[in-house]
Amino acid sequence: MISRPLVAIVDYGIGNLHSAQKGFEHAGADARLTADRGLISDAAGVVLPGVGAFAPCMAALGRTGLDEAAVAAAGSGRPFMGICVGMQVLFAGSDEAPGTSGLGVFDRMVRWIPGPVKRPQMQWNVLRRSRAHPMLDGLDDPIWAYFVHSLAPETPDAEDVVATCDYGGPVVAAVARGSVWAAQFHPEKSSRVGLRILANFVNAVRAEP
């Protein structure tokens, strides 16, 4: 029997986490919404979701003390996944919230999507692989994912970038370094493609000793 590893979805009071939980359950995890630091540090995998805006997410993480728990989990070597604004807060800061520091797991900035395009990008778009990564295992090109965002991490050609999408130019869609994965799109809203990405993460969780 395939194990259902415990994946803690960090619940710091922001947004609708129901779909994320159900998505990870579909992908084979024992997915729990939790604000319990003990559970987050014990879980085999940790997910940091986030919607809305950078500053309220950082404020809520700070208020609940879960900012430290998230940074510790991202540095623990256990599989970790940031989603949407939960990806953006892993960076140093954001154009959206000057003066608000991010968690600094990645050391560059999140910027407004440039150019004469509608913001938010609210649509399905194609992931363009920047390099091979287990996040996109088992998916045939073109890989379509659902995006809702007005900002994205800078430097689409950075080494940690897994995929970009084209929205008035290359826009960072996914990054990963070591055990930390992050997606600007919403895998839990990207139908079969998204569920496969979540399953790839759960497989990475299972592979951990």
Binding site: N16, V51, G52, V85, P120, W124, H149, S190, S191
Partner: protein, 255 residues
């Protein structure tokens, strides 16, 4: 790359899909989960559920429906209709809706748009605008509420700009002149609003053929097209619609 979305719209009453959904081999035509899953499998990009429940005490069933859909279906969905307060929005979003759409309540109290946007983010705050031609409105279109029955004296173009400023993340624009006619979208209205605002605009009202969907994106400059009857009665599949759009040079997510 700008990719047009196709959004089937389902009317729900007390948590059940009503009015004219007629797929073959469907077990329960009123089950929102079954229909949503069907549309997901068929390649719909998003779904809109329009809650026509009249009495507020039955709205709990709409929240339960949002939860049931979110349990099983992994594409974005919006719930609109009868959302009057921030708490109404909160309950639906917590239950798993990705977006809520406000209309009459936003006209009555525009701060509601800001409140939803501030608390949950612009991405989940859709403002539905029902517009009708009017010689008295500077843009030629006036905003109506209460399902198109009540005129407001508000100019549609000005209101669109205002809701963007208030924090809306998207506009669901319905032509009351065309709604239900199957004569096609009101393209002048659609392009006017879409070029006025910097947020996505969903064209609604009047789609009766696949070519209407194409026109909505090309001439109407809409970011997404909403349709009900052409899909529900299985006159056309989402795949056919996307094929037609792709033939017309519109970028779409293939089914």
């Amino acid at each position: 790359m700008r990719v047009a979305r196709i959004i089937p719209c389902l009317d729900v009453d007390a948590g059940r899909v009503v009015k004219g959904v007629n797929f073959v081999d469907i077990r329960d035509a009123g089950d929102p989960v079954e229909l949503a899953a069907r549309y997901d499998a068929g390649g719909a990009d998003e779904l809109v559920f329009l809650d026509i429940t009249a009495s507020s005490d039955r709205r709990d069933t709409t929240v339960a429906m949002a939860r049931a859909v979110a349990d099983e279906v992994f594409i974005p969905f919006t719930i609109g209709g009868g959302i009057r307060t921030l708490d109404d929005a909160r309950r639906l979003l917590r239950a798993g809706a990705d977006k809520v759409s406000v209309n009459t309540a936003a006209v009555r109290r525009p701060e509601l748009v800001s409140e939803i946007s501030r608390e949950f983010g612009a991405q989940c705050c859709v403002v539905a605008i029902d517009a009708r031609t009017s010689t008295q409105a500077p843009s030629g279109y006036e905003v109506f509420t209460h399902g198109g029955r009540t005129r407001t004296g508000i100019d549609c173009q000005q209101w669109a700009a205002e809701v963007e400023r208030l924090g809306a993340g998207e506009i669901l624009l319905t032509s009351m002149d065309r709604d239900g006619t199957k004569e096609g979208f009101e393209l002048h209205l659609t392009s006017m609003v879409s070029t006025t605002v910097g947020i996505p605009v969903i064209a609604s009202g009047g789609a009766g053929t696949l070519d209407h969907l194409v026109e909505g994106v090309i001439a109407g400059k809409a970011d997404a097209v909403l349709a009900a009857s052409i899909f529900h009665y299985a006159e056309h599949s989402i795949a056919e619609a996307k094929t037609r759009m792709a033939q017309a040079g519109i970028k779409i997510r293939p089914t």
